[in-house]
Symmetry: C2
Subunit: 112 residues, 2 copies
Amino acid sequence: MYINEHVINKMQDTLKLAGDATRLKILFCLLDELDTSSSDPHHLIEKCVNDIALQIGCSQSLVSHQLKDLKDGDFVKARKEGTKIYYSLKDEHVKQIMQITYEHVLEGEHHD
Amino acid sequence: MYINEHVINKMQDTLKLAGDATRLKILFCLLDELDTSSSDPHHLIEKCVNDIALQIGCSQSLVSHQLKDLKDGDFVKARKEGTKIYYSLKDEHVKQIMQITYEHVLEGEHHD
DNA sequence: TGCAAATATGAATAGATGTTCATATAATAT
DNA sequence: ATATTATATGAACATCTATTCATATTTGCA
């Protein structure tokens, strides 16, 4: 890892982006669901703004705002179809960060 | 991954903790240095507050404040020796989060 | 053209957060 | 005891951020 000020700032942006409850809910919403019907580990989940808003219980406006940030931060990508816009996770890094953070949190629970 | 509100909030706290330039500098400061003298991948780096402050160019007070948060968030641990307190990374999760975030940032650079 | 559905946007605001400054605490040595 | 070194702490402040509200934009359809 070659670290300089620029990289530090980019990493800050990336982690700050992930460090928000609403955005995490959106990301989990787009993560592979644990339903047993799909056995494909690389199954792509696509959801439109309104569906996400309904599922996580937030306003359309808030979800739209946050999706913009998540898109700018390369966490999600968008695909337009008619009036709807389908969002999905962009790459594996996002899943990995969520996975490791999840493990870290679980481990912390044992020591409380 | 079993996700509920509590887990989401804990993940938020963890990622928010990592998402700050000063704290990232502290963590990198405590990460294995790339000097070729140590070939042990699990080499533990310990540094006291003042050394960290000097190395990253921040005040002692700021570093102390941030170390407290990093400790509360299980990112670092502390060992007292005389008047000095030596800090080090607590577990592998921190390193992994930094590594993946670093990769994500590097990948993003290609598309600018 | 006009209407409805889906999403985006901008301003406003309350609350959170990083940093500084001054000071307190703790341990060591003279 | 006193001084010194190392670290922690609390208050204050300026900046940033998440959320809401109202409104704009875009697309599809009657």
